[in-house]
Symmetry: C2
Subunit: 345 residues, 2 copies
DNA sequence: CTGAAAGCGCTAACAC
DNA sequence: GTGTTAGCGCTTTCAG
């Protein structure tokens, strides 16, 4: 009558049951499961048969409590709804799986408040370490994670000014490279559609990159027609309509990512504008969408899979108590496809 | 010297520390955190300030061990790389979050073995319940989950013959509806590109749906030109090329999902075939991709968000020890867009 | 190489 | 409404 398991809860075998069945101590069973090398083969076989016979598998809570780690790695991405983060997360997950870790993903819907909440949630759910997107967030969050001893890896951004562990690419330089090409083609009247720069260092850096290129070509960076809007195809289309309604519409629209660019492309078609003859459009990311549209999108290729895979390896190392690794900067690549051409003369 | 925390592990405040600081028992602190209503306001305030002052947050393992639940709900989807499951999973996650649960996602890469492995992993990571896609899997897996007392909800499929809890739609009837329209338009020479039917009840049902419609129209179901290939744009394109190389190429290609259809569309363009004049193409799912391509894809709309949201509610109810709910069948809807027309006469 | 035993931090009876 | 206390099931020192 000391039992307080509810009737529905199954009474699962415990380590002690296995130990009894195999005629060894619980310590030995534990060792068989966690560091088999430390146990004699004969004993091990006996224990493992007992495990199999009883259908035993370890209790997660007990293990987490005693071992002080869960094997869970958390990741918070802005959204799961489009492909921007999907490929990287998939690779991240596959790589984690190889190290016996499990991924716990949450999404923030691009909201700093939700993100902060999710970070606390993941830590409360036992995440041993966290993968985050971008550096920009309340310093209190970093303090919290440090206090809890949860290692963090920032991805999608490379900023040597930030000391913390990170793996990403230079958003600013990458976008500047693309903008250089645009200017080289002769465009001077340039529109840009970006995500909101506040709280989004990737977006901010990409805008800065475009302005860098303008400056290099003696164009006033302030002349950039910039519209900020949340990432979505519909918003890209809407922003495009606004740009093309300007007194002197741009001859090229540089988009902060491929999703916005596809929206812009859709709107151009709808407005009867020939791309790239009447207006050029560029994207950023090189997700699958970029090659599916017609004409295919000129964009910046980001090594998403590589980033995800490498992030997993770094993070696993950090959980092991390793020192924080130096920031890693991956290379991006310009992809010239059908949506960019010289302006009409 | 009894301490065995490593130097790197932070020494976090525990429930007992908070209790001491607030001058109450640990039970009271626990109540404040879990069922605040049971504690007097004054006491609660005192406790909560102590919590804040110490920066306390509960230890996950201990809580899971004592409470016998983790608040983690697992989901295993075939892939995160394309949008098929993204929208549903996003909605699922948002809804779980409202109930204070956290989503743990894994992907199986459409492999039954990996899926089985992931199921065991998620259970080992303390998942309180599981969301799976489709009914088809080794019965041993269901037995395992039952033994462990982990409730399962199957989604994406509706099969009254299966007793277990599920929420989905009738893949067979939905696809039959689309095929009826195709036949009505006069098509008789029909090609189909599907995922491998083995181990994939959704794919199998969709194929069966097409055959149902053929039979209804007095066409021999065996005459269907069927190619099975994994879901991807590239595979869709490749399959399309093979179909169009047939001695009598089909006048319409019915695809098992939008991803394959977009690939088929791309190949048609590449082959210089006018869609839908020379060949019609249809998809299934109605993901964003479907409206981005030109012409936009005729497809079957699946209420992904609704399914995700409802799945979360059902699953949360099941964790509470509720009885298994009856299978839920959602409605799909045909979307007629640009890729389907009558065959050339 | 194996066993004994001391916790890990929290929850939930149960008693007051 | 609050306190006492017995576990939850496992890991890991330490002794042998």
């Amino acid at each position: 009558m000391n039992r307080r398991l509810s009737d529905t809860a199954p009474n699962l075998p415990t380590l002690a049951d296995v130990a009894r069945a195999a005629g060894v101590s619980t310590a030995t069973v534990s060792r068989c499961l966690n560091s088999p090398a430390l146990v004699q083969t004969a004993t091990r076989d006996r224990v493992l048969s007992a495990v199999a016979a009883l259908g035993y598998s370890p209790n997660f809570g007990a293990r987490a409590l005693a071992a002080r780690r869960t094997g869970i790695i958390g990741a918070i991405i802005p959204t799961m709804e489009n492909a921007i983060f999907a490929r990287a997360i998939q690779a991240f997950q596959e790589e984690l799986h190889l190290s016996g870790q499990t991924l716990l993903v949450a999404s923030s819907s691009y909201s700093p408040e939700i993100e902060a909440d999710q970070i606390r949630t993941l830590v409360a759910r036992g995440a041993d370490a966290l993968l985050l997107i971008g550096h920009d967030r309340d310093p209190g969050i970093y303090a919290f994670l440090e206090q809890r001893g949860v290692p963090v890896l920032v991805s999608w951004a490379f900023d040597p000014a930030q000391a913390r562990a990170s793996i990403g690419f230079d958003n600013r330089r990458a976008m500047a490279g693309l903008a250089q090409e645009v200017l080289q083609l002769g465009h001077r009247n340039i529109g840009m559609i970006s995500a909101h720069a506040a709280g989004n260092d990737r977006a901010r850096d990409r805008i800065a990159g475009v302005r860098d290129a303008l400056r290099d070509h003696g164009v006033d960076p302030a002349a950039l027609d910039l519209i900020e809007t949340p990432y979505s195809i519909a918003n890209g289309a809407e922003a495009m309509a606004r740009l093309m309604a300007l007194p002197t519409p741009p001859t090229v629209v540089i988009c902060g990512n491929d999703v916005l660019a596809v929206g812009a492309l859709q709107m151009a078609r709808q407005l009867g504008l020939d791309v790239p003859r009447q207006v050029s459009i560029t994207g950023f990311d090189d997700i699958e969408l970029a090659t599916v549209v017609d004409p295919a999108l000129t964009t910046v290729h980001v090594p998403h899979r590589e980033m995800g895979r490498a992030a997993a390896q770094l993070l696993v190392g950090m959980v092991g108590g390793g020192a924080a690794p130096a920031p890693v900067c991956l290379e991006t690549k310009l992809c010239f496809r059908g949506t960019l051409a010289a302006p009409r003369t």
